[in-house]
Symmetry: C2
Amino acid sequence: MNDFIYHNTTKVIFGRSAEEHLGEEVSMFGKLLLVFGGGSARENGVYDRVMSALRESGVQSCELWGVKPNPDIDKVREGIAMARENSVSLILAVGGGSVIDTAKAIAAGVPYDGDPWDFYDGSRAPGIALPVGVVLTIPAAGSETSMTSVISNPDIPDKRGCTAPCLLPRFAVMNPENTFSLPPYQVACGASDMLAHMMERYFVNTNCCDLSDRMIEGAAQTVLNYAPMSILSPFDYDARAELMWAGSIAHCDILDRGRGEKGRGSDWASHQIEHQLSAFYDIAHGAGLAVVFPAWLKFVRKRNPRKLVQFGRRVFHILGKSDEETIDLMIEKLEGFFRTIGMPTRLSELGIGSEHFAEMAAKAVEIKKNNLGSYVRLSAEDVEEILNIAL
Amino acid sequence: MNDFIYHNTTKVIFGRSAEEHLGEEVSMFGKLLLVFGGGSARENGVYDRVMSALRESGVQSCELWGVKPNPDIDKVREGIAMARENSVSLILAVGGGSVIDTAKAIAAGVPYDGDPWDFYDGSRAPGIALPVGVVLTIPAAGSETSMTSVISNPDIPDKRGCTAPCLLPRFAVMNPENTFSLPPYQVACGASDMLAHMMERYFVNTNCCDLSDRMIEGAAQTVLNYAPMSILSPFDYDARAELMWAGSIAHCDILDRGRGEKGRGSDWASHQIEHQLSAFYDIAHGAGLAVVFPAWLKFVRKRNPRKLVQFGRRVFHILGKSDEETIDLMIEKLEGFFRTIGMPTRLSELGIGSEHFAEMAAKAVEIKKNNLGSYVRLSAEDVEEILNIAL
């Protein structure tokens, strides 16, 4: 097991009564910037409940609407300007990963003189940020309990992540009832994203990381069980709750302490490849991952099969088969799961051909400074092969 | 799933290099009170490494030695006096659960006018406390990442727990190498304690708590695998690391959110019964639990077998058997595990007879105000029956 530090201070407030605590969490702040997505918060009642809690606590607020999936840096710049004009002291994200990641970028950008893209292209690391609070409405990205924000820059095009302790949310209000009205496709994308967060952490070469292996295996089974249930029975509170809590557990870093290459965390190659796909094609992150991850598994099985066999035996309970057969079946079952919940498993289903493969592959490798992947280190040619497998 | 709040802010610093961070964690404090056990810290080099880190950071300290297993309230009173005399601003526990629990009690007692036993007999709840830091040397109690402290009062005799957010340690320095020299019996007691912490959380009637069920099942398997390894190969770093991290995970409350009766957490009847045993007989807590837990399982199986079957199938992989046979085998395997690591599984092995059963049973039920146990609610007669099963 590798040395590690674990320090996650986000206060999770979870359940049917979660929003009742919002007022006390924000009451010591002067004015808030509320960040929203496209408008569903208005339709499903979340907006009204949030505003009523704020009114009761006597806190003032201003609002930034219109954060899109694959959130872009222009919206971040707009938010920074609004936060400065209004002298806000807390950014409250009301939504899913895109909204939270935008809120984090705004929070770091307000006290910073330069352009916020500096944090994402790696030229600057955010040292301080305004506090961020979250009212989670889409279980997926796990951004509510993570130090990471991922933002797109359509001008380049590029999509990059930034990780810093100051980006960790102060609190996350999580009411599974707020996910009842999510479209099935969005639930499926979320499940795909959280499963990918678990698998990125699982596939490492660390010699002994049994406790976290087993916790990931357990968490993965929870997603495999409750994602289909959430789609088939949208008002099943317990299924929604399992999935919502699984999304936070997946990404709060408790599942990857002591794992991966020292100081590098876990693999994350599939995420990097998907970031290139969604930067070029603006596809949903979860859908991209459902395509990339099985292709990545088919590629790495030749070079490093060990953990794939273990994942097959322990997560999918494939017993009495050879290693090769176990991997075959494991990938088949994983793709079957993605198809069951309505996710694509081939690029062709997303209308994506091989036109930009070389460019995307080069960029994915360049961003990681030729250190893409840790379970298997990938060259640009390897990434192209993975994309070809995914066609 | 029940509503819950999760907020655990302890900074875990884990690994071979953990002590290197001690200086920076304490450097902003004026003077520390160091709390130690019987003297093993002097023999195994931990004391020297801690003092060297403190010297480098220029922090002053005074020392309280001699905390015993089943730590008592007199030592707490002595520590409070010493902390006040020296105007310390942080209590640093160097040891295992007994030392940490004593440090927490001192931390809460310093700013309190009355007697610290008030926090344990339930007449007062600690609202503020000095910060507590930990250098963990015995993986067992999980006190390094918990809000709980358990203290004995030999005058009554009684052993009680107190839980409050202000008791949560600020940081925990955890170097598995510091556990290499632990006597096998102490390793076994620790493993028994952490397994009990997982099982107390596991056996609940909550309808849907699949994610945490599965994480507990994974964590329990880690203890079952690595406790014997740690005893057989004392210098196996990875085995020691798995066990040390499992002890913290077991008790940091990430495994029981959303479970148990609303507001009551999980079961804890076996712990209550064991607290009475070690208050009356001063036996090791882990040894007492290895005796009580199987007896509790044999008692509750008649009234509520469901989770026992699941535990047997998922943790011990007992497949193709009836529910009754699965429970038989599960208890047999659990007792076998305890015996393998050198734990007793009967009170007679500890030289304990039935003389005080009625008194202990009455006290265990009285402390919980007739609400002992949540998986199965226990009367004093039930507790006596469990103790008789354990004979």
